[in-house]
């Protein structure tokens, strides 16, 4: 039995962080109902038809069902349609809330209140409701209305400015929506804490989360450096302020790199062994971190001279065998087939009724007594209208069809 079996969750999440957070609850056994309005779909559906094995995978009228991103962040959920802006739609939502345990939303602050669906209103119907809002900047404050995606949020929190080459303007990390994933996980933590507390006390909870704060907290090191010493930390590329050598070093071939770090003196000795104790490593001053940092450029140049002659695999093998921390810098295509991730089943295969076989990322943990395996893909829009409004709310089929006709269940 999955640990969250018996819990029902209403998902008004949009795009990434919100849908992902409750997707994890679905992985863990909760019944998660994704509610969408046909005229305002979750934009993770709106990417068009994907390219599979070099061909556009197109099914007329079904492009909103086919996106692998949508599948990753909405698997194991049910899908029902609902127009919240219609008074009857809001009424249906209230009725569902009375029969649910958790509500998640990431609209602009104030939206739920305008719909009459804010926490105080919903908690009257379900006193032990756990509700979470995860907006850009939190529900209150001078910029609570800020619209933004992960890069906007992490620019504001100070993260993007710390990514770049030493002495150059930041490049940022715009491909990588760290703040979305991180917000999803922190939201999951907050929800789980609230659910545990509810088990103990019977009390519900409203959680006001700020995605900007999620991004800022892990920059504490830089915050304290500034407060202690007045220094605003800048990016130093792949270097490290305490360890040397530390970087991505080029190997033979095009765009082949290894990540190597020497984090203490034993690693330095291991590096010497791995390379066969070449002349440039014999300098006594390099036995300590301070000495290595003082010779940083020279050590980097010499190490590069060696890595550039090696295949990436040979270099990694040689360094790892000697006990030097070293990993290849993998492309995503390489990550997909890496034997370590394959052995751990970081991705698992499932079948989508339209797309066929596909690989989805399971929760990034392993648990000995709780199954977190991928059991299926994401639902199609409105696939569970009848279950949600019929079985859960007890409406008869004519009423449901009528509400669909009136574009309320729509």
């Amino acid at each position: 039995m999955l640990p969250l079996q018996g819990l029902r969750v209403l998902d008004l999440g949009w795009v990434w962080a919100g849908p992902m957070a409750v997707c994890y609850l679905a992985d863990l056994g909760a019944e998660v109902i994704k509610l969408e309005h046909t005229e305002r779909l979750d934009n993770s559906r709106l990417r068009g038809a994907p390219i599979i094995n070099g061909k556009k995978f197109s099914i007329p009228g079904k492009s909103i069902e086919l996106g692998p991103f949508y599948h990753n962040s909405n698997r194991h959920k049910l899908s029902a349609r609902l127009n919240l802006k219609h008074p009857k739609g809001a009424e249906l939502f209230r009725a569902l809330t009375a029969k649910s345990d958790v509500v998640l939303e990431n609209f602009t602050p104030g939206t739920m209140e305008d719909l009459g669906l804010d926490y105080p209103a919903l908690a009257r119907l379900k006193p032990d409701l756990v509700m979470i809002s995860l907006s850009t900047a939190g529900q209150t404050g001078p910029i609570a209305d800020l619209r933004g995606y992960a890069p906007v949020i992490s620019a504001y929190s100070g993260m993007e400015a710390l990514v770049g080459y030493e002495g150059e303007p930041p490049t940022g990390m715009l491909n990588f929506g760290l703040n979305d994933s991180s917000s999803g996980v922190h939201a999951l933590f907050a929800m789980m804490a609230a659910l545990l507390y509810r088990e103990e006390t019977g009390q519900g909870q409203y959680i006001d989360m700020s995605q900007m704060e999620v991004g800022a907290a892990p920059l504490a090191e830089a915050m304290l450096e500034y407060q202690f010493n007045g220094t605003v930390m800048q990016s130093i590329g792949n270097r490290h302020r305490l360890y040397c050598p530390h970087g991505a070093f080029p190997c033979a071939g095009e765009d082949r790199w290894i990540a190597v770090s020497v984090e203490h003196d034993d690693h330095w000795q291991a590096l010497r062994t791995a390379l066969g104790d070449p002349e440039w490593t014999r300098d006594d001053s390099c036995r300590t971190a301070a000495g290595r940092l003082a010779s940083r450029s020279r050590l980097e140049t010499e190490l590069t001279r060696w890595t550039a002659t090696q295949s990436r695999e040979a270099a990694v093998e040689q360094l790892v065998a000697a006990g030097v921390p070293a990993t290849p810098v993998l492309s995503m295509e390489e990550q997909f087939v890496d034997p370590h991730f394959a052995a751990r089943q970081t991705r698992q295969q499932t079948v989508h009724p339209l797309l066929g076989e596909e690989m989805l990322y399971r929760l990034p943990w392993q648990m000995s007594a709780t199954s977190i395996s991928i059991r299926g893909s994401a639902p199609q829009l409105g696939e569970h209208d009848d279950y949600v409004y019929g079985d859960i709310l007890g409406l008869d089929i004519e009423t449901i069809r009528d509400l669909q006709q009136q574009k309320i269940i729509y």
Binding site: Y149, V185, M209, F228, P325, T327
Partner: protein, 387 residues
């Protein structure tokens, strides 16, 4: 508090395991931090006032370990290991960041502790995990990011791929571990049994980047480093970092609605209606440099703050690339009480970030100075003797 009554033993150093412990401590768990005689690595990592190393003055350590107890237990010494086992016997949760092989040798792995204490939730945090071909390799967050496909996509084309800033991989490992622990505790309420949790930093980042990469790889876009842009602009343009009068801003205007709002806010330049600048996919795919030049020209006379204000007024996503100094002085964070002022002994008051969320009816533990190395060793031993 939310997790009052929960006892956690944290046997792990630096960032990942301690961040996990901190999340639990903030919600009221009693976190007993086991430190080697020389102290947690974060005590040597800094930053330090004046740059002078002092194990009681590390900024990173203070942030990660507020609200915990510090007990010195030397795992190299049988007595220290015995003490650790005795504390585990009374705990709900054991978090560790030490290598599997070491803990097995020391009799502190899941097989030993889990068998002796079936209700224990045992969470192992490591770079590569406790299973799989790389399980015994050395490395940290830097290597996790390289293996995960994250590093590959950061930086400029033709130049070295770049790491994530300031131990982000470790923070993510810690946050995931904290989630898994709460899930295991929830499951324990029904089953009565604890379990083993294996969190690998590399797997956490592989999940994050792998899911993100589906937005590229399935739409004819490469997952690769592309300087200050998302690669291929992630389809429709623009999604990038641009210079303005006094710094840089991130601009995301990938829908015609946002692009039009941006152009209107910038005074509707004469080229705005040109069909060449209406096809946002072509703009990103075929001539992004040309579009960049036009966008830069629109931004060059505006300050970051101006642009931020204009973007909010017109409703398109843009934010300045701010520094840490800006964050610390930010009115939004101040309004929400995101920073708590803590008096650090021998240093003075500093601002530390609290949890990034607030609960309606439960307050988190107020932040305080972190424990001195071994501050609670005596008390813990007394408690154990008392039985």
């Amino acid at each position: 508090m939310m997790l009052s009554g929960l006892t956690v033993v944290e046997a792990g150093e630096f960032v990942a395991a301690p961040y996990c412990g901190r999340l639990l401590a903030d919600l009221g768990a009693r976190v007993i931090k086991l430190e080697p005689p020389g102290g947690d690595l974060a005590r040597r990592y800094g930053p330090f006032p004046g740059g002078v190393p002092d194990p009681e003055k590390s900024g990173l350590f203070a942030f990660l370990n507020t609200g915990k107890e510090s007990v010195v237990a030397d795992f190299a010494d049988p007595a220290g290991r015995e003490q650790a086992r005795a504390l585990a016997a009374r705990a709900d949760v054991w978090i560790t960041g030490y290598p599997c092989r070491q803990l097995t040798e020391q009799g502190l792995d899941w097989d030993i502790l889990g068998r002796a204490h079936p209700r224990l939730v045992y969470c192992a945090l490591s770079t590569f995990g406790w299973s799989g071909p790389y399980r015994d390799r050395q490395g940290g967050g830097f290597h996790a990011s390289a293996l995960a496909g994250v590093t590959w996509a950061i930086g400029n084309p033709g130049r070295p791929p770049l790491q994530l800033p300031l131990t982000q991989a470790d923070f993510q490992g810690g946050a995931n571990a904290a989630c898994a622990i709460l899930v295991a505790l929830y499951a324990r309420r029904r089953s009565g049994a604890g379990q083993f949790i294996d969190v690998a930093l590399a797997e956490v980042l592989a999940n994050y980047a792998g899911i993100g990469s589906t937005l590229y790889l399935y739409y004819g876009l490469q997952w690769r480093r592309d300087g200050q842009r998302a690669s291929g602009s992630m389809g429709p343009y623009p999604l990038g970092i641009f210079p303005c009068k006094d710094g840089l801003v991130v601009l995301i205007a990938r829908t015609l609605r946002d692009w039009d709002r941006f152009l209107k806010a910038m005074g509707s330049p004469p080229w705005a209606d040109n069909s060449r600048y209406r096809d946002q996919v072509a703009m990103g795919r075929d001539y992004p440099d040309e579009v960049d030049a036009l966008v830069k020209d629109l931004l060059k006379d505006h300050s970051q703050e101006d642009l931020f204000r204009i973007a909010r007024e017109y409703g398109f996503p843009l934010a300045p690339l701010r520094t840490i100094r800006d964050s610390l002085e930010d009115p939004q964070f101040a309004h929400r009480g995101f920073f708590e002022t803590v008096e650090l002994p021998g240093i003075g008051p500093v601002k530390l970030p609290r949890l990034p969320f607030q609960f309606s009816s439960v307050k988190p533990r107020p932040l305080a100075a972190p424990p001195r190395l071994g501050q609670h060793t005596e008390a813990a031993l007394r408690e154990l003797r008392a039985g």
